[in-house]
Symmetry: C2
Subunit: 311 residues, 2 copies
């Protein structure tokens, strides 16, 4: 089995490559739920949905998120009725949140919902939420402490980030079924996702770092930082806030206790040496995923690095 | 103040007439909530919504229900995800249920939600849910006991009705603010709604019949039964099941303890005499509401009967 620790858009694109180079039934995406939050009384799981729907071929390829052909009739009326409108939810998209919330209220777990959704929507790989318990990621800013989506979407990442708090990191391991899977995985990949708010919450779960260190499988990350900038999203200010240098080297250092290898972009080739000094094997390639071929190539490089026997 | 006891579609049409013949700020619709139910984890109030949206000019005039121009993108995906699809909910429509459910979970009452919705949507009259507490109407059929919407929509009123159970009739008076309004009303009208499942649940609330009897205002109903048939919906089998003759006379008898007058259709003119013998004043007119003029005329007739001083 190939375990991939995943955030949202970047991870979804990486997994679109992985399904081209490995049998889909061997792939499991362990997805960040730190972004999950309640809005309109509905439980929203942004990363699980983006990964599931991307792999089901249902995502708007131009913007990288949002369901293809979705409309906003409900959202428009929610606004008319005084509901919050800062987080856009399409009509089809809302069906996911309505159904998930109904199932959760009926006693289902995020894991069983994820499994049911990926089957219903035609996502070929297993999707495992990192935790069945709420584990909200909070951002401490000059304007106060707030949920990640509030910082990122509602306030457009405009506040100065002072710290990041992974609230339920210690207790969120309850009912999580994938800790054991780490021990039997053939390869463990860390997708090119935000190291602080996407991969960070997964690694912060109790027992995960230890399990990754002890796993016989090699752990290989793909750097989401290219030339000192994030391919997408607010990685740089968030990394700075928690003391991680916003570079491929910073990513390697942040994961260094669990990492066997890292794939970095060719523009960062000069970082191969300092990363190597951390005892981490480096593959240098083009990491910008423009289309299916680039996605497949990147996944193949990461997988080969994970499968190679010697760092 | 003119209080109107109201069900769904028929009451909404009647109120469209009433707003033409009386100042809107004097009109209050007390609306049945016996049809309310939870689906997809959302609280659905069919009668409150149909009355509110009709008077706000937002209802598809051809079918008489459903919001004009509504789409079904969310519903289609709810079905894809394994959710129940027997009760059609448009995308705009869903906004009402999502927002109401969120407000109720946040501590609001059905009454405060109704007031906020009617203002947001532009409904000119006050809408008061008959009760802030659940008061579900159950239908006992040869196929078992079920919620009214299950009998009516899911099973298309195909089962033989044996009885009707107004479950929370006795206890549902809590927090209902309109019992006192009965005593100070200028006129009390009972809309041409189903006497069993629309008006029945309102009259079954503890204290209501007594308050109506004691009110100085005259109580006038409009018969929803014309020539022995219902203008719309399953009134006939439901009336039969609870021992009410499916005729304007049966309607008058069912309300006789509270009723001062009734408006019946001209095809039922021969029932004026037997209804008169019950001590109920009768007005005979055309009760089929084809357009705005007929709606206004019917409302005017009912209002004049309520305002006349002598039966």
């Amino acid at each position: 089995m190939i375990l991939t620790l995943a955030g949202g858009v970047g991870a979804a694109r990486f997994l679109e490559g992985l399904v081209q180079v490995a049998p889909v039934e061997t792939i499991t995406g362990v997805v960040n739920t730190g972004d999950d939050f309640e809005l309109h009384g509905l439980w929203i799981s942004p990363d699980c949905d983006i990964v599931t729907c991307t792999l089901a071929g249902l995502i708007d390829q131009v913007q990288g998120w949002g369901i293809t052909g979705d409309s906003d009739a409900c959202m428009e009326w929610l606004g008319k009725l005084g509901g919050p409108t800062w987080f856009k939810l399409g009509d089809r998209d809302l069906a996911l949140h309505i159904r998930r919330t109904a199932l959760l209220r009926g006693g289902a777990t995020l894991s069983t919902v994820a499994e049911s959704f990926r089957k219903a929507l035609g996502c070929p790989i297993r999707i495992v939420p990192m935790s069945d318990d709420p584990a909200p990621t909070h951002i401490v800013t000059n304007a106060g402490e707030m949920h990640f989506e509030e910082y990122f979407v509602q306030r457009r990442a405009a506040d100065t980030v002072l710290d990041v708090r992974l609230h339920a990191a210690g207790s969120a391991e309850r009912r999580r079924g994938w800790l054991e899977a780490i021990a039997s995985a053939e390869a463990i990949l860390i997708a090119p996702s935000n190291p602080v708010v996407s991969v960070g919450p997964i690694l912060a779960l109790a027992g995960i770092r230890k399990a990754l260190r002890e796993s016989p499988a090699r752990v290989v990350a793909v750097s989401p930082i290219v030339g000192g900038a994030a391919i997408k999203g607010p990685a740089v200010p968030l990394m700075r806030a928690v003391g991680i240098e916003p570079s491929a080297l910073g990513v390697a250092r942040a994961y260094s206790d669990v990492l066997d290898g890292i794939v970095i972009d060719q523009v960062d080739a000069d970082l191969a040496a300092p990363i190597g000094e951390l005892g981490i094997q480096v593959a240098v390639t083009d990491t910008i995923m423009r289309g299916p071929a680039e996605k497949a190539a990147l996944a193949r490089t990461a997988l080969e690095l994970a499968r190679s026997h010697n760092g």
